[in-house]
């Protein structure tokens, strides 16, 4: 019974896809089948992986946030400039600053959505412009902070702890915390409750507005964290970094089975979705597909995944109906 439930789940299907993609790519190019290749991939996609968690929370309450990469750029640029002009040196402080800025940015979006009743797409679109512009403004209209300016902070991107990159430890920590919070704590279940039926949640004493504010604030926090990771991993901060990356994050969640209308989705799903998104650009060049074709194939794959999912769901429904006794 339990096994059947597991194999029938969306996550299991995604897991198979991830394994299959990994296997195919590894067969064609054995170089990919290595610990290093996998950790490199994770490190290079740290930003998407981390933000997918925040987006999971936002989408679970039926929202969406397209301002995240602007938040990332603003917070990343802030520490970039602070480091460049020697105001700070501490790596920990950098992380705290980006997360602080991110939290404020996210909270503003959340306030607008939960308190002023602005639709999430519109609120986050407005802030997408605003935060990006603020990123430019604090960079004195477009300065970069490059490797040399970042001092010891950039070592965070390359340092290892117990044989694993620190960046990957951050990802693991985020996923473990989220997994526990979403599955085993009241607040996590309240997020699901709000997404599943906001009206009912209100009646059973859940402060729906606060939950919405919270998920956006957490989203901001993670976007800020991603700002630190982006600057550390690529050892550079520029005001236009990660522009358009929010769509990758949303796509990762959707592929991972997070419903856009709320209530459905899991941390494992978000992880697998983000991994698939990470593997597509990784796999295509390995398969010797011309760089020009990458975007189209990526789009077709996203579309295929969602369409196939709908078709499978329909078949499952039909079979369930056919089994019904009459």
């Amino acid at each position: 019974m339990k096994l059947k439930k597991l194999t029938g789940s969306r996550e299991f299907l995604l897991f198979i896809i991830v394994i299959a993609m990994f296997a195919i790519v590894s067969i064609i190019n054995p170089a990919f089948f290595s610990f290093k290749a996998v950790t490199d991939m994770l490190r290079n996609n740290a930003v998407t992986l981390v933000m997918a968690l925040g987006m999971l929370g936002v989408m679970l309450v039926g929202g969406i946030d397209i301002s995240i990469t602007s938040t990332l750029a603003l917070s990343g640029m802030a520490i970039g400039m602070l480091l460049k002009y020697g105001h700070i040196q501490s790596t920990l402080l950098c992380f705290l600053i980006t997360m602080g800025i991110g939290t404020v940015c996210g909270a503003l979006v959340g306030l607008l959505i939960s308190r002023a009743g602005v639709p999430p797409i519109i609120a986050s679109m407005g802030f997408m412009y605003i935060y990006r512009a603020m990123g430019y403004l604090i960079s004195h209209g477009g300065e970069w902070a490059s490797a040399a300016a970042l001092g010891s902070f950039k070592n965070f991107g390359t340092d290892k702890l117990l044989g694993l990159s620190k960046v990957i430890w951050v990802i693991i920590a985020c996923y473990v915390i989220f997994f526990i919070v979403m599955k085993w704590t009241r607040i996590g279940r309240q997020v699901y409750a709000v997404g599943s039926n906001a009206e009912a949640a209100e009646v059973s004493g859940i402060k729906v507005k606060n939950i919405k504010l919270m998920v956006h604030t957490v989203m901001g926090l993670l976007a800020g964290l991603a700002g630190s990771l982006q600057v550390a991993v690529y050892a550079s901060a520029m005001p236009n970094m990660a522009q358009g990356g929010e769509m990758d994050v949303i796509a990762a969640c959707v592929i991972g089975g997070v419903s856009m209308s709320g209530g459905r989705g899991s941390v494992v799903g978000a992880l697998l979705g983000a991994l698939i998104m990470a593997m597509i650009p990784k796999a295509l060049p390995l398969l010797h597909i011309d760089a020009l074709w990458q975007n189209m194939i990526k789009g077709v794959m996203i579309l295929a995944v969602v369409v196939i999912n709908v078709i499978l769901q329909r078949i499952a429904n039909r079979n369930a109906l056919a089994r019904r006794e009459m």
């Binding site: 599943s196 039926n197 009912a200 949640a201 056919a322 019904r324 009459m326």
Partner: protein, 505 residues
């Protein structure tokens, strides 16, 4: 302070919504271990009152005493903590979560901040067993039937160890047999010393369960009566403010030619091999347990869903209905079951609601003739005697009964041959019910063929010329008005395997 004889007492409660006084100095007393019915027409303020008790709304005036102590709830959590639990009219479930989670939402079993899933599932299964439910606590809520969800809601109330449980129209979407199950559970609760407040439109519920009844009308308190001392007529008078002499004005109509004929209609998983006919001037009743497939058959006839097999004839000619519009063009008009979700656009003005299906008929070159639209909608709304100020007010501002009248008006505007009414009196107060029956009778007199889908036995017996009974996706019998009795219908509705499976799908 002397020990109060009431577990719950409310005095002089006034609740104001923008522009409306929803409650005007109402009072209420609940004795320990009693089942107390709360009755009144739709819009009388019952639901608002319940929400004041449970802390969802805050009253502008008035006091509330719990076991003689004055209380002031800041929110639903306070009420919950004080041992008050409510089961609301519209199921307040989380379709994406499991049964156990639905039951324990807000008071999960938690140790060191971690939810104890195993303990919660066990506890939930115990509660479900207590109510004879045959589904597991790990089932997903969205996959359960309405009746099963209702059981979960009650389990949820029980799980808080509530001393006062409020049931807001619990039987509205339940079949007779499921209602019986509910009565049993409520009896059990009373024996356990729980006080129950019970809101219902069904007199049957009240007689069967309650010892006292409180009536509200037009946001005001009318009175509290002992159930065995008040007559039916007096109670109706208290609720409506007037007497209703004839609830079922079934006119004598000469049955005409065959209008609609359905042959072997099937849709996998919903119904199989449905065949029936309806004639001009005839009211054909459709009944059965919830989930028996009544609505589904009709929806396939109307093009809402696609049947897998079968033929449909209108006035002898085979028709192929692919979408709702096809059915409407042919004169088959459906008044859907769920007014708020399917019948009306709640934020739209009444006029526009009424003309939505017909505006193409008087449009000029694709453009709306708004003047004509206003005239037509005014006429239609007045025809069904809608209580409304103007045709621009939103449908959401009307009471349930008046909303249903707007749905009827919307149908009347169309060129009808066959009218299908799916639970037209669900959640409608007594006064409006009578008006809807009278309209139904008028339509039959005018020679329309009418299909009436209903779970309410008196309604079906009172209005239908013939009664089609469905069970588990199949038509199990057709009874003539003369031969039909409550027992015969129940026999047919619970044939075969359905007695073992709770509520079917």
């Amino acid at each position: 302070m002397p020990e109060s004889q009431y577990v719950l007492e409310l005095k002089g409660i006034t609740k104001i919504f923008p522009g409306v006084k929803a409650l005007n100095r109402v009072q209420f007393q609940l004795r320990p271990g009693e089942v107390h019915a709360l009755m009144g027409e739709n819009g009388a303020g019952k639901s608002t009152f319940i929400k004041v008790i449970t802390g969802v709304h805050k009253a502008e005036e008035g006091e509330m005493y719990l076991y003689g102590q004055k209380v002031d709830f800041k929110g639903p959590r306070d009420a919950q903590a004080a041992g008050i639990a409510a089961v609301y009219q519209h199921a307040t479930s989380y379709p994406d979560l499991t049964v156990a989670e639905n039951i324990f939402m807000g008071h999960e079993i938690i140790k060191h901040g971690i939810i104890q899933w195993r303990a919660m599932n066990e506890e939930a299964n115990k509660l479900l067993k207590r109510m004879n439910a045959d589904f597991s606590a790990t089932a997903e809520m969205g996959t359960l039937s309405v009746a099963e969800q209702q059981i979960v809601e009650i389990a949820k109330a029980l799980s808080t160890n509530a001393k006062i449980i409020i049931l807001d129209e619990p039987t509205a979407s339940l079949t007779k047999r499921e209602s019986e199950e509910l009565y049993r559970i409520v009896d059990q609760l009373r024996e356990e010393g729980v006080s129950v407040i019970f809101i219902s439109h069904r007199f049957e519920d009240m007689y069967r369960l309650a010892s006292r009844v409180t009536v509200f009308r037009d946001s005001q308190y009318i009175g509290t009566y002992n159930v065995d001392e008040i007559t039916n007529a007096d109670l109706i008078k208290a609720m409506v403010g007037r007497e209703i002499s004839d609830l079922f004005p079934k006119p004598e109509v000469k049955i005409g030619k065959e209008m609609l004929k359905v042959e072997g209609l099937s849709r996998t998983g919903f119904f199989k091999d449905a065949s029936f006919t309806v004639h001009a001037g005839e009211i054909l009743g459709f009944t059965g347990l919830v989930g028996a497939g009544r609505t589904e058959v009709i929806e396939s006839v109307c093009g809402i869903t696609k049947p897998d097999a079968g033929r449909v004839y209108l006035e002898g000619k085979e028709i192929h209905v692919r979408k709702p519009k096809d059915a409407m063009d042919l004169g088959i008009v459906l008044l859907p079951e769920d007014r708020q979700k399917e019948g009306l656009l709640m934020s739209w003005g009444l006029g526009r609601n009424v003309t939505l299906p017909i505006m193409g008929k008087y449009a000029k070159g694709g453009l709306n003739d708004e003047k004509k639209e206003r005239e037509i909608s005014k006429q239609l709304l007045e025809d069904v005697d809608t209580k409304a100020v103007d045709i621009f007010q939103p449908a959401s501002s009307l009471s349930g009964g008046n909303q249903q009248k707007v749905v009827v008006a919307k149908a009347l505007g169309q060129e009808m041959k066959v009218v299908i009414m799916d639970e037209p009196t669900k959640g409608v107060d007594v006064g409006a019910k009578a008006e809807i029956y009278s309209i139904m009778g008028d339509l039959a007199k005018q020679g329309y063929a009418i299909i009436l889908i209903s779970s309410e036995m008196p309604e079906i017996l009172g209005m239908a010329d013939r009664i089609v009974v469905m069970c588990n996706g199949r038509i199990t019998g057709v009874l003539d008005r003369g031969e039909a009795t409550q027992e015969k219908i129940l026999d047919l509705a619970m044939e075969k395997g359905s007695t073992t499976k709770g509520g079917a799908a």
